[in-house]
């Protein structure tokens, strides 16, 4: 606390921190004596640190309820202000101010005010386009959903797509263009380009360079190539700091051409992921579709056998958390592992010498399993892995006969695949040599993220004219001469290809808010048609290249509507891999590697100013607002580092200071750094958070580097890790438990997470119930008469724990739909996070390789809600349809309900978190949900606004139907109401519906024997229930609970 940089909030030190801090070495010591299987959420819990108990009892850390920024405590403040507060109460009797109501002059014909419209569009992203349907209230985009008719999306989205809405309305977006800081407009730049074109015509544009991000727009590629024909000596480079370089290099080695592997996870019985994040987020191309296909084989709902996932990885990703068998391994060692596997499968490669016994055992069992499932298995190499591994993965797939069955090769989705690292080197060399007289940087931020040793920023000075088109003023803007303010994808026409090559049109939903211009317009300026609009460019291109017969205009309208341009999916190639296994350079066992990964929240730094993403807890590690030097407990303890110590990491003579964060399940001697933090010119949200990993990322080792040395500094840095907030206490649920330590955790195990292996599940499908667990009390076991919920709609939800991949899409979807505010890092640190939905991560087993379980947690809408009877003003009540409703304007802020909620899902507006001031944020809000003010409790509503809208629609349609048939009935159909979280979920883990309808999807799921309620043994009767986990570990390797071969249900034997 003392080192707190801003000192915004004064927090009384909690008892935990007033004692000498638990060092990691001590923790390791204490753990060595611990036995048995327990579920835990953090190290403090695992070692029974006394401060942890305090956190269990109080939802907020000590001091969180104190008033802000003064020596006046809340109690004193109330004493002083008592009189005036009482008088202030009278303001409720004052008159409401007059408000205007402003109709159109000429109302658009297709607009019905109050009824949202939905438009299909597409979000471009470096790993492929995301087809979307965007809700538009009075022509303002207010919510982004996936396109249910598009096979890439299935109606689901990822975090980046959900949060891109906030980018559109970001008040920090660039609102005007400039030249060396002086305001200019587009026509000024137009004139400058015209002049340049005359000059450059003679030399064929020898000094002209375009630097774009990875281009996935066919129209843009066509436009650039047209310009390159006009200026044959000009050059075009693409650069994304997180690029597909290794995968592309591998395909060149293997096939002599660029090829993209596509995976058919629904056809695979066994999947091996080597450092890949295909279940973690859009950083992996095709994530939404892949996770959907993968999870289809884990729902145990159809006849298809459950698949098995092996993961070998250097970090603890959600993919690793979902693995049935997981092996932590340094990124540098994974290629050798793959080579050993290849040799075991008879495809050449090196032997398995040099591996530990554990690794040997893993290898052998894995090879056996893969062989048994030849042709029905998949080996996925990670995007942040070397080209050698990609080659080896392809060779393993070849050896197993997977190619053509579960792995197919197509043309890449990039229009012009290229070696971006080499391109960047070439470009910077040209810049340094003074060969560039015009550099057009189209979006992106190379000054911030180009390899640091190449010195892009310094080279920019030697360029004749530098232009940067960007919707933000970022680091590159400040270094370039011209800044042109760009557009958001919801503001412009374009097109984009999804990971499988399918093209979709990008349709604007709103005119550019600040009159920006898109990449299409910038490129057009250099062509012979400088006035060509993006719409003209897109239609011209597709008029020539669309593969559909008939009238183009009619086709174009259909493509817009369907969000798909037919016959554009990449053709399947059948290349045969050539060459032998690549040579592998082993890394010394004691060397410390540094792995650079895109951040799960802000990707490569482009979303640094997106507060929704900044405040989204990163999966598994649950860190918000920052990155950190993440390492295993052993690595930290061996070096004498403690959590949050700032250390210096030296790579190639460059040094980065970053705080230590221990991540369970990471291999020793490996450090993971997330890219994109440490921005200086991101905007008011992103500036100054985290540590710039690009600062040590050179062109020689952009993916895995070796740390020359690690030094501890005296400083510490407070990280906002939300793992220890909102802990669910299990003691209350277990009357036999006397202490909160081991037994407490046992209770936690029994109630919150219930799990069995596939074999155990087959033997006893009812494993989630029975004597091991505290059963729910009988329905009639109550003093009070039961409310009759047998009529009408009764809303409920089922969460399939086996399907949740922990990707956070639901978290951001909920935030966008329900106008939830962000609170900032300082407030997060004291537990005032305002998100209604969180994904809890529970760990079990060996600290060095634990298994994690994800549990989406939100208001459970208990039929016997503990929050309701304690509210002194009746602000939280129960609806006849089983919703636990929150009436904001009755709430006086006693927080009794929050204290009485066993699930800790109620969030309190300690301050005015909602932004009522910023004009650009107002149109973003969902007009059907109240924007909450200070002093008000809030929580998940089951998206009651969507329920009400569906009900009104059903009832009005019934009225219309009754005009022809008086007995017509129209009820809300199953699936008509989708909650925001459910709609965003790529794996359909969340299902909402009417539990009174025996045929609804939710009822069918809830009648499965695996259905259980969290803490429902305290008779809360939650409407949200969970479907118990079933895991499928290879018992030859053993599970990750530290007890190989033992029962999942009851590993400790007959205890309890």
């Amino acid at each position: 606390m003392e080192n707190h940089p801003e000192n915004l909030v004064q927090i009384k030190p909690s008892t935990a921190s007033s004692k000498p801090k638990l060092t990691l070495a001590e923790a390791r010591e204490r753990l060595s004596s611990a036995t048995g299987k327990r579920y835990w959420r953090s190290l403090e819990e695992l070692v029974d640190e006394p401060g942890f108990e305090e956190l269990l009892e109080n939802e907020f850390p000590a001091g969180a309820i104190e008033y802000q920024n003064s020596g006046v405590s809340r109690r004193n403040f109330l004493k002083l202000m008592g009189g005036s507060m009482a008088l202030a109460g009278l303001t409720a009797c004052t008159r409401q101010p007059d408000e205007p109501i402003v109709p159109y002059v000429r109302q658009p014909e297709d607009l019905i005010p109050g009824i949202p419209k939905f438009f299909a569009t597409t979000m471009p992203f470096p790993t492929g386009a995301m087809p979307l349907v965007v809700r538009s209230n009075e022509f303002r985009p207010t919510k982004i959903e996936g396109n249910p008719q598009h096979p890439v999306s299935h109606g689901a989205t990822d975090v980046f797509a959900q949060a891109s809405l906030l980018d559109l309305y970001d008040p920090d977006r660039s609102q005007n263009s400039s030249y060396r800081g002086e305001p200019r407009n587009w026509s000024d730049f137009h004139a400058a380009v015209d002049q340049y074109k005359v000059k450059a015509a003679a030399s064929g544009g020898a000094g002209l360079r375009f630097l774009t991000e990875t281009v996935i727009s066919p129209t843009l590629a066509w436009q650039i190539q047209t310009v390159l024909k006009k200026f044959p000596s000009a050059k075009w480079y693409q650069w994304d700091p997180v690029n597909r370089g290794p995968a592309r290099a591998a395909s060149q080695t293997l096939f002599g051409q660029y090829a993209e592997p596509l995976y058919k996870f629904d056809a695979a019985n066994v999947v091996l992921s080597m450092d890949s994040e295909f279940l973690s987020g859009a950083q992996f191309p095709g994530f939404v579709r892949y996770s959907h296909d993968f999870v289809a084989r884990r729902k145990l709902a159809n006849d298809q056998p459950m698949n098995r996932l092996y993961v070998v990885e250097s970090f603890h990703t959600t993919t690793g958390a979902l693995a049935d068998n997981r092996l932590p391994m340094r990124a540098s060692d994974i290629p050798a592992f793959a080579a050993a596997l290849l040799s075991m499968l008879g495809g050449g490669g090196s032997g398995s010498q040099g591996f530990t016994d554990e690794q040997q055992k893993f290898l052998q069992a894995l090879a056996k399993d893969l062989k048994a499932n030849a042709g029905a298995s998949i080996v996925v190499p990670g995007e942040q892995q070397s080209a050698e591994l990609h080659v080896l993965a392809a060779q393993i797939n070849q050896a197993l006969g997977n190619i053509g069955k579960t792995v197919v090769y197509t043309d890449p989705y990039e229009l012009v695949p290229s070696d971006q690292d080499a391109g960047m080197r070439e470009l910077i060399a040209d810049m340094k040599a003074g060969k560039v007289d015009m550099l057009a940087i189209v979006e992106g931020n190379p000054v911030f993220n180009a390899p640091v040793d190449l010195d892009f920023e310094g080279s920019l000075d030697k360029v004749g004219a530098s232009v940067h088109l960007s919707s933000y003023r970022n680091e590159t803007t400040r270094a370039a001469q011209w800044h042109l303010h760009g557009t958001h994808y919801l503001e412009t026409w374009s097109d984009a290809r999804a990971y499988d090559g399918t093209c979709s049109l990008v349709q604007p939903l709103i005119a550019p808010l600040y009159g920006g211009h898109s990449a299409h317009e910038l490129i057009a300026l250099f062509s012979d048609t400088p006035e060509m609009t993006p719409y003209e460019a897109v239609t011209t291109y597709w008029r020539q290249n669309g593969k559909a017969s008939g009238d183009f205009d009619a086709n174009f309208r259909k493509w817009l509507h369907d969000d798909i341009i037919p016959n554009t999916t990449s053709a399947t190639r059948t290349p045969s891999p050539r060459g032998g296994a690549p040579a592998i350079k082993p890394l010394d066992k004691n060397a410390i590697e540094v792995v650079f990964r895109p951040d799960p929240s802000i990707y490569d730094g482009r979303y640094a100013n997106n507060a929704w993403l900044q405040e989204c807890p990163k999966p598994v590690i649950r860190l918000e607002w920052d990155n950190a030097a993440m390492m295993s407990l052993n690595t930290a303890a061996n070096h004498g580092f403690n959590q949050e110590d700032i250390i210096q990491i030296t790579v190639d003579g460059r040094t980065l200071e970053a705080p230590v964060m221990v991540v369970y399940g990471m291999p020793d001697n490996s450090i993971t750094l997330h890219l994109g933090y440490g921005r200086e010119f991101a905007g008011r949200v992103g500036n100054g958070y985290g540590f710039n990993a690009y600062g040590i990322r050179g062109s020689k080792s952009p993916i895995v580097a070796t740390a020359e040395k690690l030094d501890k500094t005296e400083d510490t840095y407070k990280l906002a890790i939300v793992q220890n907030f909102t802990l669910i206490d299990a003691k209350a649920s277990d009357p036999n438990t006397q202490s909160r330590s081991v037994q407490g955790s046992e209770a936690l195990r029994r109630d919150i997470i219930r799990v069995a292996s596939l074999d155990e599940y087959k033997k006893d499908p009812h494993f989630a119930h029975g004597e091991l667990y505290n059963e729910d009390p009988g329905y009639e076991q109550t003093l009070y008469p039961n409310y009759d919920y047998s009529r009408g709609y009764q809303w409920g939800m089922a969460v399939d724990m086996n399907s949740c991949v922990g990707c956070n899409a639901c978290v951001i979807a909920c935030q966008a739909e329900n106008n939830s505010p962000v609170v900032g890092k300082e407030q997060v640190k004291i537990g005032r996070d305002m998100k209604w939905l969180r994904i809890d991560a529970y760990f079990t087993g060996d600290l060095h390789n634990p298994r994690a379980f994800f549990q989406p947690m939100f208001c459970q809408h208990c039929e016997n809600a503990p929050c309701e009877p304690v509210c002194p003003v009746g602000a939280t009540t129960h609806s006849p349809e089983g919703l636990n409703v929150m009436v904001y304007n009755r709430c006086v802020g006693t927080r009794y309900c929050l204290n009485n909620c066993p699930y800790k899902v109620r969030r309190f507006n300690f301050m005015l978190f909602a932004d009522y001031e910023t004009p650009s944020l107002k149109p973003m809000r969902n007009p059907d949900v109240t924007v909450r003010s200070r002093g008000v409790m809030e929580k998940c509503t089951y998206c009651v606004q969507r329920i009400n809208a569906a009900r009104i629609q059903a009832e009005v349609e019934e009225v219309q139907m009754q005009q022809s048939d008086p007995n017509a009935k129209r009820v809300i159909k199953d699936g008509e109401v989708l909650t925001a979280c459910q709609q965003a979920c790529p794996t359909e883990a969340l299902v909402f519906g009417n539990v009174n309808d025996p045929n609804s999807k939710v009822t069918k799921i809830k009648t499965q024997p695996r259905n259980y309620g969290v803490l429902s043994d305290i008779n809360t009767r939650p409407r949200t229930t969970y479907i118990a986990n079933v895991v499928n570990p290879n018992m030859e390797i053993g599970d990750r609970t530290g007890a190989p071969g033992k029962s999942y249900i009851n590993p400790a034997g007959a205890e309890s």
Partner: protein, 255 residues
């Protein structure tokens, strides 16, 4: 030491207690009345508007249907405030030079909207929906009052929550047959002279006799209503209006 207070002080003390009680009670009563008073609710207040639009003239005088201007009342939460174009449909032909219509013409000319002052201004945490009310048989006049008698429009009702609940607890008081009575501002409900006939089982109603409005055929099982409450109860059942415990649950209007 002499007595500080004489005997009469007891009376004063008792009196002051009574007076204190009266003061507190009257203050409470005053505040209670004040926050329900038109001063606070603006009920009946004719707020200043850019154009002195007369509903009386347009509705009673000219016989315009509500839906000519408030176009989305049947299919949106928002009834719709007419765009300037709607005014100009007629006023490009008649009263083309009237001074009071200058703001309308200026709006149309310059493409700048007219800023009206909201009369029925619900608090932001109330989500009222016109569509469901008119479709379930609540007429315009039930909330907006006799707008056909308003040369300058004002809010007829207090729009306070108790007023909303008054109807949500007993919709039979206000429910009307669907169709014309919904938009007929002057309709007074069934009475002995003007009964309402409804066909049992279908919910079709007629104000003119036991004949089907569309086909003109005689109703099969016609029921005659001569008072609002009996018709109301019948229509509440016919129109599947949800029971009071459901429509007065908080989430119906607040979310």
């Amino acid at each position: 030491m002499p007595q500080v207070f004489n005997r009469g002080a007891n009376g004063l003390a008792r009196m002051s207690l009574v007076i204190l009680g009266l003061v507190v009670t009257s203050l409470a009563l005053t505040l209670n009345e004040l926050q329900r008073s038109p001063y606070v609710t603006k009920q009946g207040e004719r707020l200043e508007q850019p154009v002195p639009f007369s509903h009386q003239h347009h509705v009673a005088g000219l016989g315009l249907d509500c839906r000519y201007c408030h176009t989305s009342v049947e299919n949106s939460s928002f009834a719709g405030i007419p765009p300037t174009k709607t005014c100009m449909n007629c006023h490009s032909e008649i009263w083309t030079n009237a001074d009071i219509l200058e703001p309308v013409r200026a709006s149309y000319r310059n493409n700048t909207p007219i800023w009206w002052t909201k009369l029925h201004d619900l608090p932001d945490y109330v989500y009222f929906n016109h569509e469901i009310h008119v479709n379930k048989g609540i007429g315009c006049a039930s909330c907006h009052g006799p707008v056909d008698e308003m040369p300058l429009t004002y809010a007829h009702a207090s729009l306070q929550m108790e007023w909303c609940l008054d109807c949500h607890r007993n919709p039979a008081k206000n429910i009307r047959p669907r169709g014309d009575p919904i938009y007929n501002i002057g309709w007074k409900g069934p009475n002995g002279e003007h009964p309402v006939y409804c066909e049992d089982g279908t919910g079709n109603c007629s104000l003119t006799g036991p004949y089907d409005q569309l086909t003109g055929q005689k109703m099969k099982n016609a029921r005659e209503f001569v008072d609002q409450m009996s018709m109301g109860k019948y229509l509440v059942a016919q129109y599947h209006v949800r029971p009071p415990n459901e429509i007065q649950s908080c989430e119906t209007c607040h979310r």
